[in-house]
Each structure stands twice: as structure tokens, then as C-alpha cells.
């Protein structure tokens, strides 16, 4: 089987070296580019399975590279950004990035993000269950079981959970969730989202104060993970 090709676009040689070693030892074929220009050329010549894109490039901002890529490139793009630059992260996610990692990040985190980005989203009609032994989400039967017991979820709660679960491992922005569940008129009504997330956690988490399934990405959105 061919190794999935990963293109790393980062101006720091040290970062490129580190990612190259980490990814190669984890079964990926890696190419690297130090500038936006090189990155775009390499992506066009040999379209990779996934792009790791640093937002702070010397010749062009990562946002512009992302826009240029998204004109034709449909595979996942993961953004590498400075920690706590939520505005820029949200912008990149809205512009078609699949996920992000704040520098410095842990290797385990990087690999998990890449795995979920490479896994195609589970479609609504797919006959699938998601979850772990203590939480089962059946997308076909539209049921959720916690410790084998059927949970009573409202329609909105279920839609929210199903949307998060279908994108397991990926961050979904507040705006995206609000638009998808409540509609375009509710993009600024983040209070609904907060309330429903809190309610969902009370139902599906063992300890709602220490959520294991629905994780908060402060200032960005939420991420559903399976242990």
C-alpha cells in the first residue's frame, strides 16, 4: 500500500525537519516547502493527501495560500498557528481549513488530527454507529445509548451530537454549528450553543465537568472525540 503523501509548508527549517522525522516514522511520505510559492507549486505538481500549512510564512500569509489551494485542492488542510490566535484560526477554518494545531503542539495531538482529517466524514445515510462501549450513537436508528441505556435527547440535542460525532476528531467552529443546527439567522446566538452543549454533556458525559466526548476549543469551537 502506498504511504499517504503529506506536504509540509513551514518557513522554519527546524520545524520542517521535526515534522519530516515524526511523520516518516509514523508511516507517511513527506515533502516539505519553506515558502508559500514553493508550497503551491509542489502541491500542484504532486497533490498530496494532506497539507500541513503554517500561517506565518515569509512571502505570503498562510491565509492566502489556503485560499489559493482551496480553488482546486479538496484534500484536508491542517493549519499550524501560534497558540491563542483564535481570530486567525477561526478565519482559516471558515476559509476551508479542516483543523488546526497551536504551536507548540504535542506529537500525539498532531497524529490524531491528521488521522481524523484523513478519514472521510461519515455520511448521514451510512449505516454507522460511533462511540465507545459506554456511549453508542447510532446514526441510522437515530438513537444514543449511555451504558447500554437509551438516552432521551431532544431533536436539537440529537442533531448537534450527531453533527459533532459525524465529524469525530475535527474541530467545528461555533458559527458552523449555529448555522448548521439553528440556521443562518442564528450565527451570533452563541448562547443557544452553550446551553445545548451543557445539556448534552449532562446526558452523555460521565462527569459533565470533565467532559471526555465533547471537548471545548476556547474561542474556536467544539470537538467530538472517542476515547
Amino acid at each position: 500500500m502506498n504511504k499517504p503523501g503529506i506536504l509540509v509548508i513551514d518557513d522554519e527549517a527546524q520545524m520542517r525537519k521535526l515534522l519530516e522525522i515524526t511523520l516518516q516514522t509514523n508511516g507517511y511520505a513527506v515533502t516539505t516547502a519553506g515558502t508559500a510559492k514553493d508550497g503551491l507549486i509542489m502541491a500542484a505538481n504532486h497533490p498530496p493527501e494532506l497539507v500541513l500549512l503554517d500561517l506565518g510564512l515569509p512571502d505570503k500569509s498562510g491565509h492566502e495560500v489556503l485560499k489559493a489551494l482551496r480553488q482546486w485542492y479538496t484534500n484536508p488542510v491542517i493549519i499550524l498557528s501560534v497558540q491563542h490566535d483564535e481570530e486567525s484560526i477561526v478565519m482559516a477554518l471558515d476559509n476551508g481549513a479542516n483543523d488546526y494545531l497551536g504551536k507548540p503542539f504535542r506529537t500525539g495531538e498532531l497524529l490524531a488530527r491528521m488521522r481524523s482529517a484523513l478519514r472521510t466524514a461519515i455520511t448521514e445515510d451510512g449505516d454507522t454507529t460511533i462511540g465507545s462501549p459506554d456511549l453508542e450513537i447510532d446514526l441510522t436508528a437515530r438513537t444514543v445509548k449511555k451504558n447500554k441505556e437509551l438516552l432521551k435527547l431532544t431533536l436539537t440535542e440529537y442533531s448537534l451530537l450527531a453533527l459533532l460525532a459525524r465529524n469525530e476528531g475535527k474541530v467545528l467552529t461555533h458559527q458552523y454549528l449555529l448555522r448548521a443546527i439553528w440556521g443562518p439567522g442564528f450565527i451570533s446566538q452563541s448562547q443557544y450553543l452553550r446551553v445545548f452543549i451543557a445539556q448534552l454533556r449532562k446526558k452523555i458525559e460521565t462527569d459533565p465537568n470533565r467532559p471526555e466526548y465533547i471537548l471545548t476549543e476556547s474561542g474556536v469551537g467544539y470537538r467530538f472525540v472517542v476515547k
Binding site: 448562547q191 443557544y192 446551553v195 451543557a198 465537568n209 471545548t216 476556547s218
Partner: protein, 356 residues
């Protein structure tokens, strides 16, 4: 409204008061002419000008000097109601009066300038000293983990007779050191964000309870010795706040409590809300703060005089900077029984949607 000290009256008022006091004193002296010689009046007027000079700027004082000289000449030196002076003696007196009044004004002004300079120099020296302490502690805080990383990597590279266990330990040291470095850099970045003045909170609906639990969880990754208790007032509404900034504020306050108290102590977080205020309290029963230093602890770079814990003096100033950027206040209470109680108050818009 900023309060102005009496000697910082605005210039217009200083002119007005100078003229008024010279006029009033002159009027009183004029009423007393039968009992006072006009030469005594000159002395009384000189005293008046000197008193004005103590607290006013130079130009109002010069005006008072000139005005009083004129009044003395016009109303008191015979012949009255003319500026004409008959005797040579009086002419000399008038000139001397004028010179003394002017010299008086200029001298007091100069003394005040010198005082101001001295004060500025003193403040500057204090700031430089504080900054030097900061540089010292910062280089310590940065160089210690760097030294640990370099030392550990050298050891690993040399191969030597390291056992697998040694290697694991060295790698762990590197991980710990990098974590510490990252935290220091984050503090420095936050400080420079505050200093730049570009700190704009991005307010959005925030589940305060969730935020507190998240911060505590993040803190507990470092395995603190103390027990941290969370106490949320039931029915705490969603509040409009910058969640990321609130996290930093709480993290710094808790980190402070963790670092400056011991295993025998406990840390409490209490969240309460009133009509339009969110009140968060971080409390510990540790050694507390010396009362004479309470006023300084939020100052940038300030560190307690008597502390053995290393640090840069940035944590609490970031707490203050971020809290105030969000329109809130932070206050330190030192309860009678000991310990420290930090109270954060944020004016907030509350959601009408009920959290159940």
C-alpha cells in the same frame, strides 16, 4: 474625574486667586491705614506674594508681584492715587519692593523645579531597579530550563553508560523544561499585549462554570499538592466575556496560589453573580501577603521582598491587565485568619436563557 491636588489648580484659577488675594489683602490694609505705616503695608504685601509663590506657577506669582507693587505705589505711597513718588527714599523702596517680589517668585519656582527633577529621578531609579530585578529573575526563569534542556540533550547525545531509566528521566526533564519555557514566553507575550494597548476583548457568551472547570483541569495536569475546590452558585447564568482572557486570569491566580502555598493548604474558587456583575473569588489559606506590600503586588515586575519562590513578577500584573481590559476589577483581601482572597468583579451582560 481625576482628583487634582490643590497646587495643581488650572492656570486660569491660579491667576484669579493671585489677583483676588492681593486685592483682598490690599483692601484690608487700606482700611487699616490709620494704624499701619505704608512701609509695613509693603511688608504685608510681600508676605502675601511669598505665600502665593509657595504653591502657584511662576506667571500668576509674577502677576501678583507686579499688581501688588502697583497698588502699593498708587494707594499707599504718598501722594495717594498717583503713581508719582515724591521722596527718593520711597522711590528706592518701591524699586526694592519690586525686585524682592520678583526674586521671591523666581526662587520659589526654581526650588520647585529642582524638587520635581529629584522626584522624577527617584521614580526613574525605582523603575530601573524594578526592571533590573525583573531582568535578573527573567534570565533565571529562562536560563534554568534552557540549561536543563542543553544538559539533558548533551547527556543523551554522548551515549555514555546511560541506562534506559536514565534516558527516560532525561527526556522527562526536557519535557518539563520546555513546558516551563513555554509558560514564561506566554507570560511575556501577554504582558507585551497589555503594554501595546491593543488588547481588545472578544466578548461572547461564556459558560463560566465550564471555564472554571477547564482551567482547574489544566492546572491539575501539573499535579498540584493542594486540593482545589470549585464552588459555583446555582443558576449562574451565561455571561458575555472574553473566555480566553478569563481563562488566563484564572489560571494565573490559581497558579500563584499553587506556587506560593503548600500541601497543607487548600484553594477555593467561588463563582457568584449579582444583577449585572459576575464575581469570582480565588481564595487560599496559605501564608498570605504582608499588609505593607498589598498595594504593590499587581505592579508589573513586583515581587514580594521575602520570597523564596522564583518568578518574574508578571503573573498578577497580567491578571490585573486582562481583568481591566474586560472592564473588571481585581482586589486582594487579606482575611484576619491568614491566607489570600482575590476577588474579580466583571460587569456583564447576562443571558436570559436559563442554564439548568
Amino acid at each position: 474625574m481625576p482628583r487634582t491636588a490643590p497646587h495643581k489648580l488650572d492656570l486660569k484659577k491660579q491667576y484669579l486667586y493671585s489677583v483676588l488675594s492681593v486685592l483682598t489683602v490690599s483692601l484690608i490694609c487700606y482700611g487699616l491705614t490709620p494704624y499701619l505705616g505704608y512701609r509695613v503695608v509693603a511688608l504685608i504685601l510681600l508676605v502675601t506674594v511669598s505665600i502665593i509663590a509657595i504653591s502657584f506657577e511662576i506667571f500668576p506669582v509674577l502677576l501678583a508681584a507686579a499688581l501688588s507693587a502697583f497698588i502699593w505705589d498708587f494707594f499707599f505711597i504718598p501722594p495717594h492715587f498717583t503713581i508719582h513718588v515724591e521722596s527718593t527714599e520711597d522711590a528706592i523702596l518701591l524699586i526694592m519692593y519690586f525686585i524682592i517680589a520678583m526674586v521671591n517668585a523666581v526662587l520659589t519656582y526654581k526650588i520647585r523645579q529642582v524638587e520635581k527633577l529629584a522626584r522624577l529621578r527617584e521614580e526613574k531609579a525605582k523603575a530601573v531597579k524594578l526592571y533590573n530585578t525583573f531582568l535578573n529573575s527573567l534570565s533565571h526563569e529562562l536560563k534554568t530550563p534552557i540549561a536543563a534542556i542543553i544538559g539533558a540533550t548533551d547527556n543523551l547525545q554522548s551515549g555514555g553508560n546511560l541506562t534506559e531509566e536514565n534516558k527516560t528521566q532525561l527526556v522527562e526533564e526536557i519535557a518539563k523544561a520546555s513546558f516551563r519555557l513555554n509558560q514564561q514566553v506566554e507570560n511575556l507575550l501577554n504582558m507585551s499585549r497589555i503594554e501595546s494597548g491593543f488588547l481588545k476583548p472578544k466578548k461572547d457568551w461564556c459558560d463560566v462554570e465550564e471555564t472554571i472547570h477547564e482551567v482547574v483541569r489544566r492546572l491539575e495536569e501539573n499535579k498540584p499538592l493542594q486540593k482545589i475546590t470549585i464552588n459555583i452558585h446555582p443558576g449562574l447564568p451565561l455571561c458575555k466575556l472574553d473566555k480566553v482572557m478569563l481563562e488566563t486570569v484564572l489560571y494565573n491566580l490559581l497558579m500563584n496560589a499553587v506556587r506560593y502555598t503548600g500541601a497543607a493548604h487548600k484553594i477555593d474558587i467561588i463563582a457568584n453573580s449579582y444583577t449585572d456583575t459576575l464575581e469570582l473569588t480565588v481564595e487560599d489559606n496559605g501564608p498570605g501577603f504582608p499588609p505593607e506590600e498589598v498595594n504593590y503586588i499587581f505592579q508589573k515586575f513586583y515581587r514580594l521582598k521575602d520570597t523564596s519562590v522564583s518568578g518574574t513578577g508578571l503573573g498578577l500584573s497580567i491578571v490585573k491587565g486582562f481583568t481591566e481590559a474586560m472592564g473588571g476589577t481585581v482586589e486582594l483581601e487579606t482575611p484576619v485568619g491568614g491566607g489570600a482572597r482575590f476577588i474579580l468583579r466583571f460587569p456583564v451582560e447576562r443571558s436570559t436563557i436559563k442554564m439548568n
